[in-house]
């Protein structure tokens, strides 16, 4: 009997939806004949005893999930998310660079070093990329540290804040839309698709508005109802990163699809997979046949 470790942390278990999703995952794995053990950060030394590892905690190259992924690497254990994917997707500069290298369609994207932050350079960015601009701190997740700016003064206010956390930042052309496609890809194949409806009070899928967190709406969409160019772009974007599990966010205005970002460790607890009942079966089979 094979052993599956599901690596979690306190935060993963802090809401009911995540907990239900994890229990569902465990039940699916057990029904497929695997032993399942939830591993917390203090259990990291148990990773070598596992036959496969599924990380379900917020990933970052500077946190314990990266240690877990590397421990799996050292012991030849198949893992989702693998350490390369964590390193690439955890840093938008790394992630966009991989997409650009493979000619994946993106909004116009520029990286700005703190050493190049000048009025002339910023003015040039508005001229080249248009107004407004999107400014991102590279390790943002859940749309934190993503801001829309409309003038040079606003740009500097945001950039100075982000440059305290990163020597380089991302500057991007703004693409307006009322929803993002999220294309789930596993091992280079479509796993699920859904729409994230952007709240009308913001341009992000999650935002703090007047002190309250506003979340996007989630609508799972069957494959037949997803534009083929969106599916193909999602697969191409995932392939530019690796062979693991990714959630690719895409804006598709009038058929001009562009990747907004590729996420490792994509959310599966908010109904993203409602039209795709075999998501966990496929993830677990992928891990054990890797």
């Amino acid at each position: 009997m094979s052993r599956l470790g599901i690596f979690v942390d306190r935060k993963t278990l802090s809401n009911a939806e995540q907990l239900s999703a994890l229990i569902n995952c465990r039940d699916v794995a057990e029904n497929r004949g695997h032993d399942v053990e939830f591993l917390f950060p203090v259990d990291i030394n148990k990773i070598p005893k596992m036959d496969a590892l599924f990380i379900r905690a917020r990933t970052d190259p500077m946190n314990i999930t990266y240690v877990a992924a590397r421990m799996a690497d050292f012991h030849g254990i198949p893992v989702i998310d693998d350490s390369d994917s964590i390193q690439i997707c955890g840093d938008k500069i790394n992630m966009y660079s991989h997409l650009q290298k493979k000619n994946v369609a993106l909004p116009k994207t520029v990286y700005l070093s703190k050493n190049d932050l000048s009025v002339e350079r910023v003015s040039q960015l508005f001229d080249t990329l248009g107004t407004p601009l999107i400014v991102k701190e590279p390790s943002t997740s859940f749309s934190l540290r993503v801001e829309k700016v409309t003038d040079i003064a606003g740009f500097f206010r945001v950039a100075r804040r982000f440059i305290k956390m990163s020597d380089w930042i991302v500057v991007q052309q703004f693409v307006e839309s009322t929803y993002d496609w999220r294309v789930g890809v596993l091992g280079g194949k479509l796993l699920y698709a859904c729409k994230y409806t952007i709240p009308s009070v913001t341009f992000k899928i999650q935002a703090s508005v007047n002190g309250h967190i506003v979340y996007c709406g989630v609508e799972s969409v069957p494959e037949i109802a997803v534009p083929p160019n969106v599916i193909q772009l999602g697969i191409d974007a995932a392939d530019a990163i690796g062979n693991g599990l990714y959630g690719v966010d895409i804006k598709n205005n009038n058929g001009d699809a562009r990747v907004i970002e590729v996420n490792d460790n994509p959310s599966l607890e908010s109904g993203e997979d409602a039209c795709y009942p075999l998501v966990y079966e496929r993830i677990i089979d992928h891990l054990f046949t890797a």
Partner: protein, 207 residues
């Protein structure tokens, strides 16, 4: 070299980035990443600098190459005493390590490095009488270190290829073991270490 400056030197058909701090999302890290993505043979790699400064990964990789390392564990609260503690999160740096001797002190340090329990941390139990020693390696060479540390510095350089790194060792009755690697400031270098770095930067040959 001045604060925050970096240099790229070519030696033996490879480029080497000399910087004070190779940590994630620094100018040095992105310089490496940019060159890696354009296919250059650049050292250290972005993977190596990430691995080197996340303490448990650094120790696991060092152990696999035969360098003796401290036993480590991950905790959310419990600390065996005495111990060295390292933060393990987005805001932590391996340069900041804390030696705790008693429960009161451990409680305060754990609160600090875990951001009030939000993140786990890495601990290394210290044997009685253990002492901590920090020294700097320049392209795998040290100035005025014992033979054991000289040997480890070279092995660490072969492993991570980081031109300038601070090494933290723990000395016990049975020998010297690695506790962590961390970035180092140019201002912390001795005259001799600066001369060694300048010689590498200016591509002088060593016999």
């Amino acid at each position: 070299m001045t604060r925050d400056s970096l240099a790229v030197v070519k030696r033996n058909h490879a480029y080497h980035v000399i910087a004070e701090d190779y940590s994630y999302k620094t100018e040095a890290y992105y310089t490496i990443l940019e060159r890696e993505l354009s296919g250059e043979n650049i050292h250290p790699s972005s993977r190596n600098v990430l691995d080197a400064f996340v303490v448990p990964i650094c120790l696991e990789r060092a152990k696999l190459t035969g360098i003796p390392v401290m036993e480590w564990g991950i905790s959310q609260a419990y600390v065996p005493l005495p111990a060295i503690l390292y933060g393990l999160n987005y805001f932590a740096t391996a340069s900041d390590f804390f030696v705790v001797q008693d429960n009161e002190q451990a409680k305060d340090v754990v609160k600090h490095i875990t951001n009030k329990g939000k993140y786990p941390f890495c601990y290394q139990k210290l044997d009685d009488g253990a002492t901590i020693h920090t020294c700097t390696a320049v392209f795998g060479r040290t100035v005025g270190s014992c033979t054991a540390i000289e040997g480890y510095a070279e092995k660490i350089y072969n492993l991570f290829s980081i031109p300038l790194v601070s090494m933290v060792f723990v000395k016990t009755g049975s020998g010297v073991v690695l506790s962590s690697l961390a970035p180092t400031r140019y201002t912390h270098l001795t005259e001799k270490e600066r001369a060694l770095l300048a010689a590498y930067r200016d591509e002088q040959e060593f016999l």
